[in-house]
Subunit: 195 residues, 2 copies
């Protein structure tokens, strides 16, 4: 997605060979016009999939997910992050390890909002090691719902999450895939659609 790549190039901050900060339009400050364009792009890719629900993770996934939900005409559910959860019977929970922060959080979704007849699109802001997406897939499996695919705003193509999830046979659509952050420079590979 050209508009997104340009935004990343002009406003993203490369902090290291593996860390890209996009706090100015996605992760802290949000550009609503860009989010709308992202929503339209994701919706166009999954328009014919019979999606009934979008599942994302608080907080940075919410804005692009809601814009996508508006175009597709379906509700959005955001999984909640918690340090630890005592077992609560009305929640689906999964553990998500963050390699960046070196901590494990539980994520949870109420059983009321993902049902076995749902066709779910997962949407998240970043895909790096894939742990968050795996946690969301786990929740969809617990609910016995169908997974339509995964939409990602920014994929770090040089980390293994995208390959790992595509290797499971899951359709992953990333709007921007970064091939390298070396030398403070963002390089992209073409938009990849792999089933």
């Amino acid at each position: 997605m050209k508009q997104l790549q340009e935004k990343i190039r002009t406003d993203g901050k490369v902090l290291s060979d593996s860390v890209l900060k996009v706090d100015s339009f996605l992760n802290h400050q949000i550009d609503p016009v860009l989010m709308q364009a992202i929503g339209e792009e994701v919706a166009s890719k999954f328009a014919d999939e019979g999606i009934t629900k979008i599942l994302t993770l608080e907080s940075s996934g919410i804005a692009p997910a809601v814009m996508t939900g508006l175009v597709l005409g379906v509700p959005v559910v955001f999984a909640r992050k918690r340090k630890s959860l005592t077992l609560i019977s009305d929640l689906y929970t999964a553990s998500v390890h963050s390699f960046t922060k070196n901590e494990t959080n539980d994520i949870s979704v109420s059983k009321d909002y993902i049902k076995s007849d749902d066709v779910v699109l997962i949407l998240d802001d970043f895909l790096a090691n894939g742990q968050a997406v795996l946690g969301l897939i786990d929740i969809i499996e617990q609910a016995d719902a169908a997974l339509s695919g995964v939409a990602i705003v920014i994929e770090k193509g040089f980390q293994n999450g995208g390959k790992m999830i595509r290797d499971r046979g899951v359709r992953v659509e990333s709007l921007a895939i970064i091939s390298s952050l070396a030398n403070g420079k963002v390089e992209f590979i073409g938009e990849v659609s792999a089933k």
Copy 2:
């Protein structure tokens, strides 16, 4: 806002005389079409105020804030909640006490995203004791920015936050104001605009 009141009546769950759960369309599952209507309503109330930025709080404020930002054509910034923050020089921070959870969290905003020439609209999902809004006002004051007003999706009119903030001379616009949750029944008072 009639559409919102009807949604609260049909889909809200009254858990006690003071607790209303709206997890099915605002706080966990999100209704994007309703969020868009909320965004249009808030934007129409503050259209002539020269707003340059919307400030909200993760996670439930993000969806209505982004829809409002889209209509007003301005960026949204969401304050982050953290259990405790060591002093970081590039952040504005404020403490917010939750009476419901009986805990105090720090909220923070990067100094990059609220500047002294900003005219800021605060938007949040709920107004009850007003502690979150007071924390956000604190951050705007630290940034020496101008506060245009406060937009709230659901105000609990039987708690003191709304009065406290209006008494400071701040314009508060709540799209639905609940006068009572007694006997498991939601009662509203008319939309109130008080400067």
